[in-house]
Each structure stands twice: as structure tokens, then as C-alpha cells.
Symmetry: C2
Subunit: 546 residues, 2 copies
């Protein structure tokens, strides 16, 4: 008798990929445990068979235990589909209660970084595949469970990262700044992040020639003898002008590295939404590519991110070996989380804690208000989009048909001298059908870019409570300084160091906010200009039609 | 103890007119039976008092009889509010079953003309007042129940006409053409209606200079020492250029006369809707005036109607005496209903019954199809109107507010170089608020005239089944001719006469349809031109705003 397996997490199959949808608690029959690539071929009680990620099954352990999903947030609900860690972690309102409250460390000094919780990631188009990096190269190695040159150590490593990757939809806490505030810092290395005083206040050091890249030419590939397929995008940076290929999962890996390394200082927006179905539909691929392009552009425009080793690796690796070496190094980077502040050198005098707090409050209030404003605009834009492509389109069509219908009736009158009128009615009817078409297509021309930009900003703003939260937590620590000294928990010197380092963090926040503002002004100027141009074009077309 | 009265019909008070709303079966206390003008002052069980038309009360007869309204059609339902007799009489579809079926005379030769049924006319702004013609003059005569120079005979006469007036919302049958087909005709008088052969077939004789009139200058008057008030319109024909004053009830009287006299041959559209409340609101008065103007114009344009004695009287009477004499004469006119065909003289050979039937069918089909088309256009136009003034207006407002809101948020950034962007956002926001306004006002500019015209045609088309029905009934009679001769009910000569007179009716129908077509082409050409001009103006405005 074939081996049974218990499904321990929900998994939704992607159509056309030979996968099998399974639900927690379900029992399946294992057909082939040696498929490789982290997959098991299984059959459900209804006789349907397909691939299921091996981590989702407990082979041989068939029981009636209660599913553990009850406390997991729904990663696919409309609310969280565009959200970042914090938004899920803090419920509906990432801004509630202020940043300091969300950091649950007031009573103690725990060293916990990111909370890690396993979650249902069944729709991740790459889950369970982290152990096979170069699909085609790997699949030649046979169906062994762990094959390839990276060996066991790397296998463990990637397994950890897979969990990190899953983490991004799950609970998280704001990184505890303590690791930086009181840490014995390593000697200053060469990779310093400079902040200098510009016209608008503290600013990052911007490169002479800005980095940029083009994401293009999506190609479908397959692996496991065609059992699984995927899309590979060509990414070409303006520095080398040499294209490199990346799958969505590589972008996702990059996102995880950037979030881990810079998330405390710089908002790293989520990658474009994953999608359960339609992965190979042209439109979806085009949309994902457009959004990956937008995401990459935003990362390129950030002087700290774009200059980082991991980002440069992603854009300019020359061969598989260089990629793998760089990958391993990036994954071993210890200067992550709040420790990133240790690499920042502001050329400015130490700030008073009151001033730090005020600036933090100012940014916090601004981002919250902008977040509300952006969501409001997205909301009305979305309603308008739906109205234009739905009821309004149909209404103009109906008006058009009513005119044409009247024209047909008039044509049957048998009365002479009717032609001019029936021609006019038919023309009016056809015009309305054209208007119906134009009205329905208009959102794609004008609203689309406005919505995309605001959507990007919604994502970016969603990260800011986390970033600001780290700062608020640091301020809290400094404020508690005297008490801690009195309790003998820290020394007076520690207190001075904390204040100094919080000041450095504040310069970082100011530099980041100034970066945010200058980009915001650039982006919104551009989007408003294009929007208004399209509006004029629209009414011009309509006028000419009439 | 005061006298009690039983309410025998529902009556809805008009606000501000010191009237009392009463319901059938209700018992009221009579406070003053000598108010005059056909009114009784009464008090209901809740202590409210006011005027009730005396015909609506049965003074002294308090019983618990069942109200008789159950079988009355609802004159105020949306379906019937614009409808004519037939539409109410035949239910939802005035076209169902063909004209011949609706004439319930197949089995016998009854001489019944219009069926008369009393109905609930509580919202008629003039009901119960037919016995006092010149309000101001009358009220000086004291509070007597029937005063004035017209005497008892006229009193009875006007009472009959009041019933006729009420009749227009109630059941009716298609006039029986028998009265004409077999009648011994009076000697030909001087008022002959000429039909001659034009380029398009049989046409009425059109006057050299078309009649026209202006309805303007609505003035509020009052009577019964201010207890009741009304609106008087000034009507000025282009022939005399001398204004005459008419209240709505006079228009209504004219409508009744025209319907009675010409309804079998010419569609006489209903007067604009009556309205229960808001009689003195400016907008309502303006709207009613506009529609009375439209109705008068259409009547003026009809060569037969405009040339009739009753219509000329309405437009050109010189004093009260002339009006009253003319009124009495018109009400005594016996050449009404199908007898109007006896005054028609076509200059053309007699038509074969098959040809008559074919033409009748053709017109019937055309009017039915046009009626469907017009209703469809009214329907989508109405939906579009509501969308423009409702959700679309609000949506643009919200988009405008979202832009302006974002601008306000950006203004608080504390970042320099923001002005151009926030100005652009504010401007875009204000533009959207303007667009919201323009979009909401647009229907009044373009759709209004399109809707009014189609509404007029809906009314006109609603009369045609009646008109066509008379013809179909006549054809039916001719087809039964041989049988009737065999049964000895008519002579062979009668049969020949019937065929000849049906041929005359057919010429009349053709002349009327040609009149209808030429007017239709003129009206729709005009409305389409104005509509398209407004459309261009709209998009031009929008373009300039953007």
C-alpha cells in the first residue's frame, strides 16, 4: 500500500503547473517522494494527483490534529495584499498607538530581531524551490533530494532563508534598536554611508551618475523535464549595459536581503503582488514586469541601496559562480537590522533628544497623513475606474443603440426626405458607441499611471511606520537612560553613547525623509503632468467625435 | 351638534391652499357648507380643518360602506402619469392585440361613444371649480352655492364637463366608427376639412402663414378672499398679437374639447402632467409653462386643430362674453368623435379595402416601433441624467477633494520647492470640482431638450392606438358588411356607403400620418442639431478646464 501523508499547510496549485491543491488536515497518498526540487507527487481522496511542496506534507503521519492556521493572518485578503510586515502585524492601522507602543520592549531588553512565523505561502510561485538555484543545471543532477555543489551547509542556509521569505506576510516586530545603541561596534570599515548637510538639511551622498536599469523581455522557461515552468526577466543596468536574467524568486531574494539589511533605516517597499492564477497570461506577465521595473527603478534611485554590494551583485554578476559567491556572502552579512546605523557617518553636531523626537514626530505625522491621502485617492480612482469601464461604458453603448434603433425605425416610415435625419441619428449612435469605447479605455491611459504611482507610494508609506518605529524605540531607550543607570543596568557612558547614536539615527531618518520628499515631488510632478496631458487629449478626442 | 359627512373619494390637499386631505370612507365634521365655489369647510377626526370639494363629500350620509376605488386604475403611477386614455384602458401595452380587438363591438352594434367612469382626481389643481368660471368676478357674488349669470343650465352643463375632464385618466374605449359609417349625414356645411394629394400622398390643407403662440408671464392670482390661489398664463397668438389669460383648467378644457372633437382622426396629446405638490414653486411653474408652450405649439402647427373654432376661440376671444358664448357653443358641438370624418373631403378616388387595411397596418407597426424606440431612449436618457447629476457628480467631487487633500498634506512636509507641485495638485482638485459641477449641469443643457421632445412624442404616440383603432374598427365593419346584409341588418346601399366612408377615413389617416412624419423629421432634426452642438460645447469646456 502506498504511503499516506498529512497536509500540514494549505497549498493552492497554479493552473498548468501540474500542482495539486491541498488543504490542511487532508490526507493524501504519496505517489512519488523522489520527484526532486522540494516536491512530492501526491494523490488526493478524489483521485486527483499532482505536485505538492514537501514541506507542506508530513509523510507517514496521518492524524486528525487541528489545523494551525487559525491565528495566521490572511495574506490574500484585499487589505494585506499590498501590505508590508507591519501592516499585517499591527492589524488594520499600522499607525495606531504610535511607533513606540508597537515595540513591545518597554519592560525588558530582549534581543529579538524579526519574529519568524511560518505561514501559508501556497501562492508563491517559487516556494519550496530555494534549494535548487539554477533549475536547468540542477535538473541534470537527477532526482536526488539534495544535490548540487553547494553542499549541506548551503542547504541549511537556504532553508532558513526560505523561512525568512515566508515571514514577510506574517507577524513581525519593529527591530529593536538596542543591538545598535549599546553594541560594541566593530572598527569602522571602508563601506561608510555618508550624510552631509544640504540645502534642505541632512542628505545622503548621491552618486555623480544615477544608476538605472531596464527590466524587459520576459521568457518562459521550464524545469524538471517540463513538469514546472517559470518566467525569466532580463535586467540590464545602465552601468554595464549587460543583461542578466532573473526569475521572480531572485527579485524576492533581493527584496529580503534589502529589507533585512536596510529596513531599519530605509523603507524597502514590497515587491509587486503575487498572483494565484494566470501566471502565464500575457497581461499578468506584462503587469508584473512593469511593476518589477518600477520597483527596481525606485531601488536604483536610492543612493544607499543602489550602492550596496547585494544590489550591485544582482545587477552585474558575470556568471553563476560570481552570483553564488555573492549570494552566500550577502546571506552571511551581519551588519543588518539596526546595526546598519553603525555604518552611518553624519558630518554634523550631535542633536538634542528633544529635537530628535520632534523631527521623528513630524515625519510620523506627515507619513500618516500622506498615507491617508494616497489611500483616499486610490479609493476614488478605483471607483472611477470601475465606473468608466463598467456602468458608464454600458450606458453610452445603450444610448448609442437607442439612437441607432430610432434611426432604423425612422427608415421604415416610407416617408420621403428622411435620409438626412436617419444619417444624423445613426452617426450620433455610432459616436456614442465610440465614446463608450473611449471612456472605457481612458482609465488605462490616464488613471493607470496615477494609480500605479500612488500604489507604489502606498507600499512605501506602509514601510515607514517600521522605520520610524525603530527611531521612536531608540528615543524611548534614551529617555529611560537615567532610570537604567540608577538600576545599574547600564553605565553613564552607555547612556552618552546611546544619545549619540540616537542622534546619528536621527540624521539617517532626516536624510531618508529628504530623499523621500525629493522623490515624491519628482514623481508627483511627473504623474500630474502626464495625467493632465491625457485629460486634454481625452476631451479633444471627444470634442472631435461630437 | 355639527353635521357629519362621509368622504366618497380620496382628496389630496395642496399645501398652502387651506385644503384638507381626506380619504374615502373617512367621516368628517362639516364646519361651513356655505363657503362657495364648490367647497365645504370640514374638520377631520384629528382636529385638522380645511376645504374639501363638495362633490367629494356626502353630507349627512355617514355609513361604513366599502370604498369603490378597488377597480380604478392608479392615475398617478409612473406608467400612467404620461399616458392617455387608451394606455390606462388597455393596461400596460396599448398595442396589444391590435386595434380591432380593443373595440368590443364585434358581437353587436352598440352606439356607445366614450365610456365615462368617475375617478379619483384629487390632485387636479382645478377640480371642483368648474362651476365658477371667472374667479374674481364670482367671489364678489357672495358665498351662494350656485351664483352668476350662467344659470342652471350652464351649471349642469359644466358639471357634465367636469366628469368628462375626470374621465381622461379612467377607462375608455376606442370610439365606435359606426356612428359615422351608417349615420344619415347632415348637409355639408362650410367647415370642410380638405385633403389633397401632395408629393408624399394625401395631406391636410396647410394655411399660408402658420399659426403660432407664446405662453408666458405666469401670474399668481387668488380668489375666495385669498382662501384659494391659482396661476394664470398669458397666451399671445401671432395672428392678433393680443394676449389672453388662461389658467391650467382652461387649457384642460381646451384639451377635452379637442380630444372629443378630433380624437378619432388626430392624436391629441395629453396636457403636461399635473403635480400634487409644489404648485407655486418657481421651477414647477416654469416647467409647466414650458410644456404648455410645447403643447400649444404642437396644436398650432396642426392645420385642422389650429383652424378649428374652439382653438381660435381659446387664442383670440376678446372679452368674457365672447369666451362664454364660444365655450357654450363648443360644448354643444355635435360633430365630435367619429362624426368628424363626415366633414372631411378628400379629392381622391375611393380606396380598396385591402389597400386601406395595408396602410393602417403600416402606420400601426411604425407607431408601435417608434413608441418602443422613444421609450428606450427616454429610459437610457433618464438613467444617464441620474448618473450625471448623482454618482458621477459626487465621484468627480471626491476626486477633486482627494487631490486638494494631498496638496494640503504636501504643504505640511516642511520641504522646500514644493509650491509648483502643491499648486498643480490644488488646481487639478479645483478643476475636478468644476468638472463635477459641469457634469451635473450638462443634462439640463443637452439631455433636457432631447428628453422633452421624446416625451412629447411618447405622449403623441400613446394617442395613436386610439386613432388607429377607430380605423381598424371601421375596416372590421366593412369586412362584416356581407354578413350584415345577409342577416338583414343593413342594406346593400349601407354597405357601399360604409366602404366609401372607410376610404375617406383612410385618407384622413394618411394625411395625419404624413403630418406626423413631416413634424417628426423637423422636430428630430432640430433636437439632434441642438444636442450635438451642446455636446461639442461641453467637451470644449472640459478641454479648456484641463
Amino acid at each position: 500500500m502506498a504511503m499516506q501523508a498529512q497536509v500540514i499547510y494549505d497549498f493552492s496549485a497554479e493552473p498548468g503547473n501540474n500542482e495539486l491543491t491541498v488543504r490542511e488536515g487532508e490526507t493524501v497518498t504519496v505517489l512519488n517522494q523522489n520527484v526532486g526540487g522540494g516536491w512530492i507527487e501526491a494523490q488526493n481522496s478524489r483521485g486527483q494527483s499532482g505536485l505538492v511542496p514537501e514541506d507542506y506534507l508530513q509523510v507517514g503521519a496521518v492524524s486528525s490534529r487541528t489545523p494551525e492556521t487559525a491565528t495566521y493572518p490572511d495574506a490574500y485578503s484585499p487589505e494585506s495584499s499590498n501590505s508590508t510586515n507591519t501592516q499585517v502585524a499591527n492589524g488594520d492601522n499600522p499607525w495606531s498607538g504610535g511607533g513606540a507602543d508597537t515595540n513591545d520592549t518597554a519592560g525588558g531588553w530582549d534581543t529579538q530581531g524579526y519574529a519568524q512565523t511560518r505561514q501559508n505561502a501556497g501562492d508563491d510561485d517559487d516556494d519550496g524551490e530555494w534549494d535548487e538555484e539554477w533549475d536547468d543545471a540542477r535538473s541534470t543532477g537527477g532526482y536526488g533530494e539534495t544535490t548540487g555543489e553547494e553542499g549541506e551547509a548551503t542547504g541549511r542556509n537556504t532553508h532558513t532563508h526560505m523561512k525568512m521569505s515566508l515571514n514577510k506576510f506574517a507577524f513581525s516586530k519593529i527591530p529593536n534598536p538596542e543591538v545598535y545603541l549599546l553594541a560594541k561596534l566593530p572598527p569602522k570599515g571602508k563601506d561608510r554611508l555618508a550624510i552631509y548637510m544640504g540645502d534642505v538639511g541632512p542628505v545622503w551622498l548621491y552618486p555623480q551618475s544615477p544608476l538605472d536599469c531596464v527590466v524587459a523581455d520576459p521568457k518562459k522557461g521550464s524545469k524538471m523535464y517540463g513538469l514546472k515552468s517559470y518566467i525569466e526577466y532580463q535586467v540590464t543596468p545602465n552601468t554595464t549595459n549587460r543583461p542578466v536574467n532573473h526569475r521572480y524568486k531572485h527579485f524576492d531574494w533581493l527584496y529580503e536581503r534589502l529589507l533585512e539589511k536596510f529596513g531599519s533605516a530605509i523603507p524597502i517597499p514590497s515587491l509587486p503582488d503575487k498572483q494565484v492564477t494566470g501566471r502565464f497570461e500575457e497581461e499578468f506577465i506584462k503587469m508584473r514586469m512593469e511593476r518589477l521595473q518600477g520597483w527596481m527603478c525606485r531601488m536604483c534611485r536610492h543612493p544607499v541601496v543602489s550602492n550596496s554590494d547585494v544590489f550591485q551583485l544582482f545587477l552585474t554578476y558575470r556568471d553563476e559562480k560570481e552570483w553564488k559567491t555573492g549570494k552566500r556572502r550577502a546571506e552571511k552579512d551581519e551588519c543588518v537590522g539596526p546595526m546598519v546605523f553603525s555604518t552611518i557617518d553624519p558630518e554634523a553636531p550631535e542633536l538634542d533628544i528633544i529635537e530628535v523626537e520632534q523631527k521623528c514626530e513630524l515625519f510620523s505625522r506627515f507619513t500618516k497623513e500622506m498615507d491617508d491621502g494616497v489611500k483616499d485617492l486610490l479609493n476614488v480612482g478605483n471607483i472611477h475606474w470601475k465606473r468608466c469601464t463598467g456602468p458608464l461604458r454600458k450606458e453610452y453603448q445603450k444610448i448609442g443603440k437607442a439612437f441607432q434603433n430610432l434611426s432604423s425605425v425612422f427608415n421604415t416610415s416610407g416617408y420621403t426626405g428622411e435620409a438626412t435625419l436617419t444619417d444624423a441619428l445613426t452617426a450620433a449612435g455610432k459616436t456614442y458607441e465610440e465614446i463608450s469605447q473611449i471612456v472605457a479605455e481612458q482609465p488605462r491611459k490616464d488613471l493607470h499611471f496615477l494609480m500605479e504611482t500612488n500604489n507604489e507610494y502606498k507600499g512605501l508609506l506602509g514601510c515607514l511606520p517600521d522605520t520610524i518605529g525603530v527611531h521612536k524605540a531608540a528615543i524611548e531607550k534614551v529617555r529611560e537612560g537615567d532610570k537604567m543607570v540608577a538600576a545599574g543596568k547600564i553605565t553613564t557612558q552607555d547612556k552618552v553613547t546611546m544619545a549619540k547614536r540616537t542622534s546619528i539615527m536621527c540624521y539617517s531618518l532626516q536624510a531618508e525623509m529628504n530623499h523621500f520628499h525629493s522623490n515624491r515631488i519628482y514623481d508627483y510632478n511627473r504623474v500630474m503632468q502626464l495625467y493632465l496631458e491625457e485629460q486634454i487629449r481625452f476631451y479633444e478626442t471627444m470634442k472631435c467625435l461630437s
